[in-house]
């Protein structure tokens, strides 16, 4: 990236300039924009990313940080390459969510809330994902795997590409 204030990549800026036209006030596009920044810039919202995003919206970095920190889907620390969420709320808990979570930890080697030793998986507990009548479930890179049996966990987690995900960042 080089010296000076961080800024978003040109392609992303073009995309966001279109997005802001959907709203009477530019700032309304912030949360959809943060999703795109997280997707495009390393799978998390680094301080540089937040600052670049703030510059795009004409906001102070602290405002964007305050917003991003409110929402569980935004990662403010480097995450594993593949994020695994296991819902632990009531319908899933009644149908074996804790066993699923234990199995996910066993297969990945990650502690709950942490990144696995090989850096491939980030395992987290999540709240109700809206798959209650297909419980239990896990969500892997945003894709739901429902009506999940413990024996299937290893196969499901293995569906991620083997190699490292190509990461792009502002650096």
């Amino acid at each position: 990236m080089g010296p000076g204030k961080p800024s978003l990549p040109a392609a992303l800026v073009r995309e966001l300039e279109e997005l802001v036209t959907h709203y009477p006030q530019r700032r309304a596009a912030l949360i959809p924009a943060l999703h795109r920044c997280q997707e495009e810039l390393g799978g998390w919202l680094a301080p540089d990313t937040l600052e670049a995003c703030a510059a795009f919206f004409g906001l102070e970095p602290v405002e964007v940080f305050g917003v991003a920190s409110f929402y569980p889907m935004f990662h403010l620390h480097p995450s594993g390459k593949h994020v695994v969420g296991v819902c632990h709320n009531i319908s899933c808990a009644l149908r074996g969510a804790e066993e699923i979570l234990a199995e996910v930890c066993r297969v990945t080697g990650a502690d709950v809330g942490k990144v696995s030793p090989d850096g491939r998986y980030q395992v987290q507990r999540v709240e109700c994902q809206g798959a209650c009548t297909a419980a239990p479930m896990l969500v892997l890179d945003g894709v739901f795997h429902e009506n999940l049996e413990r024996a299937e966990v290893e196969r499901v987690l293995g569906t991620v590409p083997k190699g490292p995900r190509l990461l792009e960042s502002l650096r």
Partner: protein, 478 residues
């Protein structure tokens, strides 16, 4: 204006302000945390609960900061249900709050202590471990943050956003895990940081210069005016053990500074504790400047006037109207020292003009003069009176020390001056030790108060000048 009844008193209130403002204006003590008259109301802390009754609908308990006043409203701030609601709220706030009172700077002026005492229940029922957060997080040179003490009223966030118009703090996270943060641990910036420590209802945001310096109940407090620029913010001077100035804080003044003051003014007080003071009078003898009684110093000064005519008056811009009027009686031409404008000038409070009484002095006929020019004028004069707190400092101590010995300089100042030109030096009270008036940039009068005694041997400057004028009367009249 809208007519409502508060605690049995029928009053007329401003319909543009929320109910809580009306209650406070009419001596009803409604507690508050997130509400502040200088910030937008959010209604989040839920402590300002009062009972209201409108028409035929049954009374209900509401948060006063988000309730508009309505004609005929009956307000009961002491209703049992209102007290019960506040009591419940306090138990929730105290659940995670650390028991830091013995080491917390805010003790004695803490809204959590005060309201817990007024409305709380005495014992909490929580046996859960309290949340653990950062307890002494430096936010720069001015503020230290204790996240555990924070009750998330968000006043500090709103202050930077709304009053300085540059957000610097945010609430991060959500729920019971919320914390106050800057971005990427950056320090706070700007000349108004200290205000967040004032408005923080608890000891979460405290001033580094004041940390562990004093217990607030040991401080004597006096209403006064800041002298660091021509805004003249209303302040409170707070003195420990009747001698050391420990703190300056803003005092609400809707016409001048609302509820705020800048850090430059706020942290200027160490000057008042710097010695050695010119405690008494000095006269030039064979071995340099020697102590002398004030009476004798005045006689000597009067002799100088008789011998050399009216003096050139170079006064400090810190001179009050009363002192300046008295000084003018002595005069010759009157000049006031006008140093270079300050780069701290902004769109908010700091005027950039370091002369607190420029307007008043101008109205009394004193002309502004830059320190360099003042020195030139002094060199050409037969007799010079350098008058007032900080006069020597603003003229330039070094420059004054190079004045020739034949120049007759009479100094009336707070600190002694080492200059061969000084033949008489008379001590004066500083702006914590005298009453008087300054006129600010917009023409508002700001008063000084006596917050502590001047050193022994130092008389009020108004009296000193009047005495001198009386003794030199004949010579001055010529």
């Amino acid at each position: 204006m809208t007519k409502i009844t508060i605690d049995g008193r029928e009053v007329e209130v401003d319909p543009k302000k929320p109910l809580i403002a009306a209650c406070h204006e009419h001596a009803s003590n409604v507690p508050m945390y997130c509400y502040h008259p200088g910030l937008s109301p959010v209604g989040s802390c839920r402590i300002c609960q009062v009972e209201v009754k409108q028409g035929e609908t049954p009374p209900r308990v509401v948060v006063a900061c988000r309730t508009p006043v309505a004609e005929g409203m009956l307000v009961n701030t002491e209703a049992p249900k209102a007290h019960e609601a506040r009591r419940q709220c306090l138990e929730f706030l105290l659940k995670n709050h650390p028991l830091d009172c013995p080491i917390c700077d805010k003790a004695g002026e803490c809204d959590l202590q005060d309201y817990a005492f007024m409305e709380g229940q005495g014992e909490g029922r929580s046996v859960e471990p309290r949340r653990k957060l950062e307890k002494r997080k430096s936010l720069g040179d001015v503020i230290v943050l204790d996240q555990e003490r924070c009750i998330l009223c968000s006043r500090c966030v709103r202050f930077f956003e709304e009053v300085t118009e540059k957000p610097q703090l945010t609430v991060a996270g959500l729920g019971a895990r919320s914390t106050i943060e800057t971005f990427a641990d950056r320090p706070l910036e700007g000349n108004y940081q200290g205000n967040v420590a004032d408005i923080c209802p608890v000891g979460a945001l405290t001033l580094k210069p004041f940390r562990f310096q004093a217990r607030v109940w040991n401080l004597d407090k006096f209403a006064s005016t800041c002298g660091e620029c021509s805004r003249g913010c209303s302040i409170t001077v707070e003195v420990l053990r009747r001698s050391e100035v420990k703190r300056l804080r803003p005092r609400p003044n809707p016409a001048v500074n609302q509820w705020w003051m800048c850090d430059h003014g706020r942290f200027s007080f160490p000057r008042f504790n710097t010695g050695p003071r010119l405690a008494g009078s000095l006269i030039r003898g064979t071995d340099g400047l020697e102590p002398i009684e004030l009476e004798d110093a005045l006689d000597e000064a009067a002799d100088l006037v008789r011998a050399h005519g009216k003096p050139l008056l170079v006064v400090s811009p810190w001179l009050t109207q009363e002192e300046a009027s008295a000084a003018r009686e002595l005069g010759g031409e009157g000049l006031f020292l006008s140093p270079a404008p300050s780069p701290l000038k902004d769109d908010f409070l700091h005027t950039g003009d370091p002369c607190p009484n420029r307007r008043g002095l101008s109205e009394l006929g004193f002309a502004p003069v830059a320190p360099g020019e003042a020195l030139e004028r002094m060199r050409r004069a037969k007799l010079v009176f350098l008058v007032g707190e900080r006069a020597a400092e603003l003229c330039g101590i070094e420059a004054l020390s190079t004045l020739p010995a034949w120049l007759r300089l009479v100094v009336f100042d707070t600190h002694p001056l080492a200059s061969p030109a000084a033949c008489v030096e008379i001590g004066v009270p500083d702006s914590c030790e005298r009453t008087g008036t300054w006129i600010n940039v917009d023409g508002h009068a700001g008063m000084l108060s006596i917050a502590r005694s001047a050193p022994p041997g130092v008389a009020p400057l108004v009296r000193t000048l009047a005495e001198l004028q009386r003794r030199a009367q004949g010579a001055l009249a010529r």
